[in-house]
Amino acid sequence: MVAAAAAAMALALAACGGGGDEPEGGGSGSGGADEVEVFTWWAAGSEKAGLDALVGVFDEQHPDVTFVNGAVAGGAGSQAKDLLQTRLQAQDPPDTFQAHAGAELQDYIDAAQIEPVTDLYDEFGLTDAFPPDLVDRLTASDGEIYSIPSNIHRANVVWSNPQVLKDNGIDPAATYADLDAWMADLDKLEAAGVTPLAVAQAWTQVHLLETVLLADLGAEGYSGLWDGSTDWEGPEVTAALQDFEKLMAYTNTDRDGLDWPESQQLVIDGNAAFTVMGDWAEASYAEQGLELGTDYDAAPVPGTDGVFDFLADSFTLPVGAPHPDGAQAWLETVGSTEGQEAFNKAKGSIPARTDVDTASFGEYQQSAAESFQADTIVSSLAHGAAVPVATSTAITDATSKFTSGASDLAAFQSELAAAAAG
């Protein structure tokens, strides 16, 4: 009897405790007006600014649909991904969620958790507005497209500190034809006691790895790694991995405890000369009021000029979304010219659409937009465009093992081959 009372108390408390803490979502059905719960990890900084701008456009385009912010902070997306996994498993999906476009969606597709949006592409005229290369890369193996990209980032960018370079007798404006040329200057920096190349924890090392593979194998060779036409165990890959090994030798020893903003800050503060990071790093500079050309430089990673290593944030249509109409309205805004212009200007990335006027964008963004139109596009490995999650995890594990000294090059190469095959 007492125990029953205790159990009842527990349930009652659970009910009370549950009330106020749930994120808004699911049919609350407030008198006719539709809504859309948008699940992202854009909870702070320039990402939040971008989201806010996008919401502004959304409210204009679809005044009858209420925007519900389901943003989850923490871990640069890992918290959000964990929560999303739980919610999808519990069949309590948000109306739309943010995910990297490309192969990362494969798990959701296989698990029948997202709907194809190919008809929306026709409806919104996106197939013509996006570069054909991009549309190709967004199309899954079954011929359908499963998400609408809101922005494009470039991964193969090297950032430098001109002052540090000048102080060590290197011309900041110098461009390098390939990795070897670059390493000559990196040697000079090392001899002078400056950290030549800053890098952070495992995924940023994979990021570096992909740019090295891109530089040494070329666009076609690199793309071949993911569709099976390039041999992972071949000599070209071995050579690329050797370059990777050499580059890692130029990096800061405390890398495994850092995240990308910290390694970026090393360059900003002048404690390191170069770092390879995607162009979301632009936001760090903007926040600190620094100017392109004077305080920092950005260039394609040596050997990858003319190639745009892309990754895209995109929005999906989950199966069983509580408000599919609201979701569709959101997707329309995401793909629209006004939406993409507002969002990207605030976030620091570039639109996926080719018909957005970028005249009012920042200097770096304008050059990136030009490259996107003109260059060959390849998919990023470290950011979910080229391979699904399981492969990416296996590659990250193999990389961490290698860079921490637990495996040699040959073992590293085999592990990468196994990861890409499996």
Binding site: A6, A14, G18
Partner: protein, 294 residues
């Protein structure tokens, strides 16, 4: 040979002095020196935490970890508070019911298992006790599915459920050991008066369990407050406790703000530290009882 730690069964602990004071000797000075050295070592992290939490943005960098602040500022404390306050509120909402319910269940169990000798009582106790030692990873995957399946909302409700369930073994242990020391005459007297088990529990045993309750409540409070594993698997930064929020603050932010994370770490630890400072004896009682003895 009687067990040495007998007295500590779920009682507040007094580790008082054992013998009269020694006179001043070289040995004594040496001891003081060594003890002081240890104090310095133990306080090193605290120094860094405190000092960094008062530093401004540029100052709070790893390279300046050992220097005193150039400018003492409380801005970090304010930011940390506003960032962590919702999570702290949720943690309180989670910890209090969990501690109360698991203490109550533990008391019931402890009483039954120590006083009502039915066949197999010891075996049941050992089986329950095993639950205290299992690594939670061994049940995490199906646990996730079970909690989802039961429809318990993630965040505070799930965590309450989990801390109650997995708190049962340790609370049962503490109470059982405590009740073992209750004189049998008390129980007999009640039985002679015709009281059944429930009556005996409610009217005789419960009133004298206060010290043990305090010990258990404090122990459960601390362990639920500091838990991270369940928080990671069963809640998110939107509805989770302060350990999760603190980890996000320290490890997940776009631009690392060390001063704020250090201030945050202090805030997150404040309640348990307060409990420790104010109710140290009861805290120790929990520690001792946590050690299983014969």
């Amino acid at each position: 040979m009687t067990s040495v730690v007998e007295a500590e069964a779920g009682r507040p602990v007094d580790l008082g002095r054992a013998a009269p004071r020694e006179r001043f000797t070289v040995g004594r000075t040496l001891r003081y020196l060594v003890l002081l050295l240890f104090v310095l070592v133990v306080l090193v992290p605290v120094y860094v935490l405190l000092v960094t939490s008062f530093k401004g943005p540029g100052d709070a960098a790893p390279s300046r970890a050992w220097n005193l602040p150039q400018v003492w500022t409380t801005a970090n404390w304010e930011t940390a508070w506003s960032t962590l306050a919702p999570a702290i509120a949720r943690t309180v909402q989670m910890v209090v019911p969990a501690a109360l319910i698991s203490a109550f269940l533990g008391s019931l169990n402890g009483f039954v298992l120590s006083r009502w000798r039915f066949p197999g009582a010891d075996l049941v106790f050992t089986l329950i006790l095993f639950g205290m030692f299992i690594p939670y990873q061994a049940v995490m995957i199906p646990l996730n599915q079970l909690v989802l399946g039961l429809g318990v909302p993630s965040g505070v409700p799930s965590l309450i459920l989990l801390h109650v369930v997995y708190g049962i073994p340790i609370t049962t242990l503490i109470f059982r050991n405590y009740y073992m020391t209750v004189p049998q005459e008390l129980i007999e007297a009640a039985r002679v008066d015709g009281a059944g088990m429930l009556r005996t529990y409610a009217w005789i045993v419960l009133p004298i369990s206060v010290p043990s309750f305090v010990v258990v409540l404090i122990w459960q409070f601390t362990s639920a407050w500091n838990d991270f594993l369940f928080a990671v698997f069963f809640s998110s930064s939107q509805n989770g406790p302060v350990t999760l929020a603190l980890n996000n603050l320290a490890n997940g932010a776009l631009l690392q703000d060390y001063g704020v994370s250090m201030a945050g770490a202090l805030f997150a630890s404040l309640p348990t530290l307060l409990v420790y400072v104010l109710l140290g004896r009861y805290f120790m009682g929990g520690l001792m009882s946590g050690s299983v003895k014969g």
